[in-house]
């Protein structure tokens, strides 16, 4: 049992702790910032079903190591504590609380997964901890009014679908569109984006929507019903396995619609080859970065910079891993924001600078694509280029498009 005195003493101690916590928050710099260090944190699925994404975390850590070896940022070394959450939202909540309360990190950077980021957002918002460049493509991260401490990075699914919608109107204004989508946040974002891109006047162009569950073995029946609807344009908002099935099935049943496919599934090894390279010819997608396996970048200065980074700080197998490209890009964006902060490394200023990126170009972004943010624009990458599959690789065409 606790005596009254112990209880009082304990409450006095916790009150003092609270008071000192408030003082720290009023101080200039965020917790985790010293004269020699910028301590930041993230959670990554190093174990569990999504562990392939762990490469992103490794690339982040490696990139900061490279920056630190070159002297860091204004003499401060970046120390990224990257913790495993096994792609479990409860574990992510626990690890984020550890990072903020025990490790006292300045902010959270590039944590992965839509459900996990959704679960930790209320806590980070309440405690005014920046949640920067979340590694998910959902559209909900771009909501500065309600969630001023959370910002995305990659083009969100709506942006991309928006670009497709606009392109359909520009090239085939009388198209009849069929949409195949995965029944989850990703697929539904896509559907919203397409309709948004078409605009209210053209909403009737979507003649059929067919959804599938991740647990279904194939999407063959959905493809057949989409063909029956009389659609001449097919939009594939599917993850790799199902995208491959959709591409193959349309070819096999002799249906030849214009096929648009999400960039989620543009991997040649995981989608186009299983679907059949011949059968995949003519598929259109949107890209925002350079594909490291694409021969046309071999002499590109940006790609060389990336390859040099991989050679020195990662393993050779990571070179053609799109996740390594991703981490390389987010970490570089982060470094830019920290440089912009100058001497003021308060959480408020870090967030202000994250929302104040002007025309940042990255080595592995498409030539001409720029990252821009502002207090009302929390979608850093909005430019993409359409590309068509020529049976061997993607060849980009047309101008950079803004979603």
């Amino acid at each position: 049992m606790i005596s009254r005195r112990t209880f009082l003493r304990a409450s006095a101690v916790s009150a003092a702790a609270l008071a000192s916590g408030t003082r720290a928050a009023l101080a200039d710099n965020a917790p985790g910032i010293t004269d020699t260090e910028i301590k930041i944190g993230q959670t990554m699925p190093y174990s569990g079903p999504a562990s392939a994404y762990g490469v992103i975390g490794k690339a982040d850590v490696a990139y900061f190591k490279m920056i630190n070896e070159a002297g860091g940022i204004n003499g401060r070394k970046i120390n990224l504590i990257s913790l495993d959450d096994g792609y479990s939202p409860p574990k992510a909540v626990e690890q984020i609380r550890r990072l903020v309360e025990q490790d006292q990190v300045a902010f959270i950077f590039n944590s992965l997964g839509t459900p996990s980021n959704y679960a930790i957002r209320p806590y980070l918002t309440e405690n005014k901890v920046p949640q920067l460049f979340v590694a998910t493509g959902a559209a909900m991260w771009s909501d500065p009014k309600n969630f001023p401490w959370t910002i995305g990075w990659q083009p969100n699914y709506q942006t991309e679908a928006h670009i497709f919608g606009k392109n359909i109107i520009a090239t085939t204004p009388n198209a009849k569109i069929g949409v195949l989508y995965q029944n989850d946040a990703f697929g539904k974002d896509y559907l919203i984006g397409v309709k948004d891109g078409l605009g209210a006047d053209h909403a009737g162009m979507v003649v059929k929507e067919a959804s599938y569950e991740v647990s279904e073995p194939t999407v063959d029946s959905q493809i057949v019903s989409l063909q029956d609807s009389g659609a001449d344009t097919l939009l594939i908002a599917a993850t790799p396995k199902f995208a491959a099935q959709a591409i193959r099935k349309t070819f096999d049943i002799g249906w030849t619609p214009v096929r648009y496919m999400t960039d989620v599934s543009q991997s040649i090894a995981a989608v186009m080859k299983p679907a059949g390279l011949e059968k995949s010819k003519g598929v259109i997608t949107a890209v925002y970065g350079k594909d490291p396996s694409d021969a046309r970048w071999r002499d590109d200065a940006g790609f060389k910079e990336y390859a040099a980074f991989i050679a020195k700080y990662m393993t050779p197998a990571d070179l053609i891993d799109s996740n390594a490209v991703y981490g390389f890009g987010t970490a570089a964006t982060m470094v830019q924001v920290l440089r912009q902060c100058g001497a003021d490394l308060s959480r408020e200023n870090i967030m202000r600078q994250a929302a104040n990126i002007k025309d940042l170009e990255l080595p592995m972004l498409l030539p001409g694509a720029k990252i821009n943010t502002s207090p009302d624009n929390f979608s850093p990458i909005r430019q993409m280029q359409l590309a068509t599959f020529n049976g061997e690789s993607w060849s980009a065409f047309g101008d950079l498009l803004q979603g």
Partner: protein, 352 residues
Amino acid sequence: MTPMTIVSREPAALPAKPILGLDARLWRRAAWALLAITALGLPFVASGYHLFQFSQVLIYAIALIGLNLLTGYNGQISLGHGAFFAIGGYTTAILVTKLGVPYWATLPVAGAICFVAGFLFGLPALRLGGLYLALATFALAVATPQLLNYKGFDAWTGGSQGLLLSKPYAPFALPLSPDQWLYFFCLACAALFFWAAANLVRGRIGRAIVAIRDHPIAAETMGVNISFYKAMCFGVSALYAGVAGALAAIVVGFVSPDSFGLFLSLSFLVGIVVGGLASIWGVLFGALFIEFIPNYADQLSDLFGESAKALPGAIYGVLLIGLMYVMPGGVAGALRSAPRLFSRLFSRAKHG
């Protein structure tokens, strides 16, 4: 007539030999006092983050008692208790977010729903023994996250995105932070459920449950209604898991299909084996294991350099194998034999 003849493997058979001049009963009483002081004093020394972790330990402990009643005492293997944990969690989340029910009032509902679900699942499971039951429950664990993701239920379950719950504050203007309050809330629930389970296994029903595990034919001859007890045991076990899931939803403030993956169900099984099968108090150690060991595995893997981030799973496995090698009967088994070991050591020292 009750099956009094069945020998129980309960710790009631502790040796009454004195150790260090103290009676075993005194030792146990001292351990109890220490546990109570630690549990009640913790919120005043630990940080919010650690309280969150210990709240989760208590929650896991409740789920583990449930599974131990079923697997440890009754001998029915379940690989699917994560499913009942999920049902409990979603019951609470839906009641709180969609119907505005206060969070504490959702616990009995979650428990009741899971009891019925468990009882109904237990009926057909009666025909399945051993590995076949393990497979059936495994299917339950695999199916549940996908069912929760089913678009027909989206309006209620929030689909793959899940549901957010706001953090409850301490009632009656108690001077406690939300973390402290939730910890005490979980502690009270855990104490209640430990007490109930300890009473259950010590009494007539507990002996019947154990009898069914050890010798079903003998139990039936003694007048034990096997099918009723087995289904009932499944129901009660699911109730425990459901209440734990409900508490988890409140403490974490979030549920989604990804929160209740297959690994959760397997962790529960790991928890009761590590803690000690057929031990009520052992589950505390099991809960500590499944909460903390994955974190330590992650930290240990850092020692192997930055490129070794793929190791947490492997280190977890090695730790688990090591522990099972050192303590084949789980922590409870080791503690049970500790007094005997000690008294043997001391008496040898005296004679030597």
